[in-house]
């Protein structure tokens, strides 16, 4: 893939292998050109491997927004970047710089600082760029990234390219203004509020132009889309094709989250989000084997820590004011730790290459190509190991085992809302939330599990398994798959699983 290609005519002839999703390697980064691989290999949001080891943080310095999305309520943070209904502590650029340095000194694994809200970073140019400019100078070992709805992007590209910024995320939900008008009720453009299709048209043009300009500057572009069933779900395949053709290195599809209590248009009007199955199917079509972002957790604008965890409470402004950070010293320490992690990752990589048999099955699965693929859920608290109690899991990693090996599919959050009636106790609802999140899976791997959930899981047709506690995930998943073949469990078909098979 040529990163410098500029092409705004989505031609049909671009089929075949022109997109970056082509390729069937088990290593999700291997299809990327070396220079991009180099840029993303320690970025927790882009590398499934790295996100177990490296951490990212967001600072909330950008409160204003210049558009309205139907899945967002501006009482809360930008819904493109956080789960809806979240409010971040707004920081001044000066506070943000202090916070970033404090976190980087205390959590040396923190390699990436992003500005993602609570509004649109590029609708807050002074605040966003002051933060970036100071960090590029004062903490040059931190990578910077920014997310945007794209409206103000073309005008900001020149300035972006001056800072230490190599990743920009654009949320693109459509390339057709008819569809856009059903997602964006208005934009603020050239000192006017512009409603409906006309506004959507301008937004789409700016997004596409911004994407092309960034690619031409050699800045990595990731595209996020929100999947809204009945509105843009079919259309996103087209979006995916176009943005990849223009040089986006990654297209990530996220589910719409809409609840009436968020007070959003979609929430109040009863627009539903996609089911896990629908989401997975579209993600497969849009990203193929390129599943780098499947572990995206839609983190909040002031999130701190490894993906999926938030240590923000340790770094509130009043605590940070008390800290005395010597960043020069911290940088030395950070470099040593980063080196250590890089070595550990390299070691793992070598082991994986040597033990290719782990991902490409060697036992019964190898000879029995006709066995259907099986989805398994894993409870983990990081490090690529099965090391979490079922009851503590707030999310599960979903893997697929088949005769082609093991591949990471997605993350599923445990729905923590109590949506039941009076008889629904808190515990019971959390448990049924977990079981709902595991729909379609046949096995759940965890370090430990209680007696009660064990029974309920079995009833739901999901086999709990604690035998592989503290083992590496992929190896355990393959060994359970081999065992299922050996014990004849895959001889019976499992109704819904046939449609998942490739």
């Amino acid at each position: 893939m040529e990163l410098t290609v500029l092409n705004d005519t989505p031609s049909e002839s671009a089929g075949g292998c022109s997109t970056s999703s082509c390729g069937s390697s088990n290593d999700q980064l291997s299809h990327l050109p070396d220079e991009i691989k180099q840029k993303v290999h320690n970025h927790p949001c882009y590398s499934e491997e790295a996100h177990h080891y490296f951490a990212r943080m967001h600072v909330a310095v950008a409160p204003a927004c210049n558009i309205q999305c139907h899945y967002c309520n501006r009482k809360y943070d930008c819904a493109n970047e956080s789960r809806p209904g979240v409010v971040s502590e707004l920081l001044t650029p000066d506070q943000a710089v202090k916070k970033t340095k404090a976190v980087a000194a205390n959590i040396p694994q923190m390699t990436v600082l992003g500005i993602a809200g609570p509004g649109d970073p590029l609708a807050n140019l002074d605040r966003t760029f002051e933060t970036f400019r100071r960090l590029s100078e004062e903490a040059p070992d931190i990578k910077l990234c920014v997310s945007t709805n794209g409206l103000a992007l073309p005008a900001a590209v020149e300035e972006l390219s001056k800072h230490n910024i190599d990743h920009v995320t654009i949320t693109i939900n459509c390339v057709d203004p008819e569809i856009g008008a059903q997602i964006y009720p208005w934009i603020y453009w050239n000192n006017r509020r512009i409603h409906g299709k006309k506004g959507a048209q301008i937004l789409i043009e700016q997004q596409q132009k911004g994407l092309e300009m960034l690619v031409a500057k050699g800045i990595l572009v990731k595209v996020n889309s929100v999947m809204i069933p009945g509105v843009n779900d079919q259309h996103l395949k087209e979006v995916s094709r176009i943005v990849k053709q223009k040089g986006a290195f990654l297209h990530n599809v996220m589910p719409l989250i809409a609840e009436a209590e968020h007070g959003t248009f979609y929430g109040v009007m009863g627009q539903r989000g996609p089911s896990n199955e629908e989401l997975m199917e579209l993600q497969d079509e849009c990203s193929g084997d390129m599943n780098m972002m499947r572990h995206c957790r839609q983190c909040r604008a002031d999130a701190v820590g490894l993906l999926g965890e938030d240590r923000g409470d340790e770094f509130t402004m009043d605590k940070i004011e008390q800290m005395d950070i010597d960043y020069e010293a911290a940088m030395v320490k950070r470099a040593v730790i980063h080196q250590g992690i890089a070595e550990e990752l390299a070691e793992k990589e070598k082991k994986r290459a040597a033990l290719a048999a782990v991902k490409v099955p060697s036992g019964p699965a190898a000879e029995n190509k006709h066995f259907r693929p099986v989805l398994m859920a894993v409870a983990t608290s990081g490090g690529g190991m099965i090391n979490q109690h079922f009851g503590h899991a707030t999310e599960f990693l979903i893997y697929e085992a088949s005769s082609n090996g093991v591949r990471f599919i997605s993350h599923r959050k445990v729905d923590q809302y109590c949506i039941g009636n009076d008889t629904c106790g808190e515990k019971e609802s959390a448990l049924s939330g977990s079981i709902r999140a595991l729909a379609g899976c046949e096995v759940v791997l965890c370090s430990k599990i209680g007696f009660e959930p064990w029974g309920l899981l079995e009833e739901a047709g999901i086999q709990p398994n604690g035998e592989h506690a503290m083992e590496p995930i992929e190896e355990a998943v393959m060994s359970v798959y081999e065992e299922m073949i050996a014990t004849g469990r895959l001889d019976q078909s499992k109704g819904e699983s046939s449609q998942m098979s490739a």
Binding site: C65, H70, R74, N124, Y188, N191, A260, V268
Partner: protein
Amino acid sequence: MSLSIIESCVNCWACYDVCPSEAIYEAAPHFLIDAKKCTECEGDYADPQCASICPIEGAILDAAGESINPPGSLTGIPPEMMEKAMAEIQAR
């Protein structure tokens, strides 16, 4: 004459950045417009800028005290749907 900001303001700073008269200032519990400085954008823009970017219906009033962005005008949610949804949530 001057526009004004009332309590439904969510302090998003958007109006502050676009006011040509520097009439808007940060205050607790929400942003305010300095009536002496506000020009209603006359001579600068066709539409009052604060009211053209504010995402919150009802937060900005015109000189006569009327909402410039009444319920439903920005979100597209019909006011009766909003009331119904909120009543259902209250009832839980």
